[in-house]
């Protein structure tokens, strides 16, 4: 169980380009951080580095458990985080239910509670290709609830959503934080929950 995420003097490069260096911050259980910065500043890359998909040029991503015990990154990641990126991994030819059911079971969870929380019932029999951008985003947000993980890495989580759904997702995030979760979100607009702001590439 992740209680704290520490980013320590992290430097990331993509190809020849240095995105940022010397980035340090910590995120504790119950906290949310909004990563801001211009397009291309490296917000998405930072999320991917925390998830372990990108190898940092230097510096460290550290996961700590209860009492500040440093966790094995592999273990912390495999059971400890959800990544919600620009690309949602949904297959257009399959129905919303098939996709949600698969990703829920893949992470060792079940789709039931998520369907309820995100009002997905009317969408379940539709093929993913027939969903609007906002509906599709709701479906991928449902993955977060289908299998509980402490650390949520969210890339522009609210972008295509309508006001009502934004409020709902805000409530979902608040609940997650209240239960000891951690949220690291790349955003352009502020999130509807209290956040600390970390600016990238400033």
């Amino acid at each position: 169980m992740i209680h704290r995420l520490a980013i320590d003097r992290l430097a990331l490069t993509r190809g020849e380009r240095r995105l940022f260096e010397g980035l340090s911050f910590t995120l504790a259980a119950g906290e949310a951080i909004a990563l801001t910065g211009a397009n291309g500043a490296g917000k998405t890359s930072l999320l991917r580095a925390v998830a372990g998909l990108l190898r940092p040029e230097s510096g460290e991503v550290r996961f700590e458990g209860a009492g500040g015990v440093v966790l094995e990154p592999e273990d912390a990641r495999s059971a400890g985080l959800h990544l919600l990126g620009h690309h949602d991994g949904l297959k257009t030819g399959r129905t919303a239910l098939e996709e949600l059911d698969f990703w829920a079971r893949w992470s060792g969870g079940a789709p039931g509670p998520a369907i309820e929380a995100l009002r997905l019932q009317p969408l379940l029999d539709l093929e993913v290709r027939k969903l609007s951008a906002g509906q599709r985003r709701r479906l991928s947000l449902a993955r977060l609830l289908a299998a509980p993980r402490p650390l949520w890495l969210l890339d522009e989580p609210l972008a295509p959503l309508d006001t009502k759904t934004r409020d709902q997702v805000g409530g979902m995030m608040a609940e997650h934080l209240a239960s000891g979760g951690l949220i690291l979100a790349a955003v352009h607009d502020p999130l509807p929950i209290p956040t600390r702001v970390v600016e990238i590439g400033a």
Partner: protein, 221 residues
Amino acid sequence: MSALSVLFRRELSLAWGRGGGPLYAGAFFAGTAMLLPLAAGPEPQKLAAVAPGAAYSALALSSLLSLERLYERDYEDGALDLLALGRTPLEAVCAVKCLAQWVATGLPLAVFAPIAAIALGASPSLAPLIVATALAAGLGFAFVGGMGAALAIGARRGGLLITAIVLPLYTPPVIFGAGAVGQLASGLPWQGGVLYLCAYCLFWAAATPFIMAAAVRNALS
């Protein structure tokens, strides 16, 4: 239900739709096998002699068809990120994808193979050995093909690159499989070829998941 078994079922249903699935592979197979009598002339004697070889070449070519989408689609839509992040080792994910590819493509082709060979004039008594060797060869095609597909992730004109990587490695199963069937047809011992075929395909089935996982990690980073 374990993560790998739900992944297998999903991959199977995707493979069914990927590049048209088994029916396209079957149609392509039939088409390629039937080019031979048109090219070489219809004398039954001549055709019967090369029937197993023709069936195996067609088998190898048909197995290439759906490889391009094996990893590329998951890479493009972000599913590969999520699969790589799960609790399940990426090596196992890659192996399951290839197994599903084998079941979705190799299995139907193994059923078509003796039909094509017999249609070209091979003796029906060869059918069981053709099915068995086509199954074994199909396993090798799926894993070697998966390796090519993983190495070509994100490449432009990935299909051509996959073919270039994979086709040379497809030749031993063709040689051993068609060779064994040819030996049986002429009443010679055929077991050696089958053993070589199985050893070759099992080797790649064991080795390629590690190569594929490394290639996927590299493509994602």
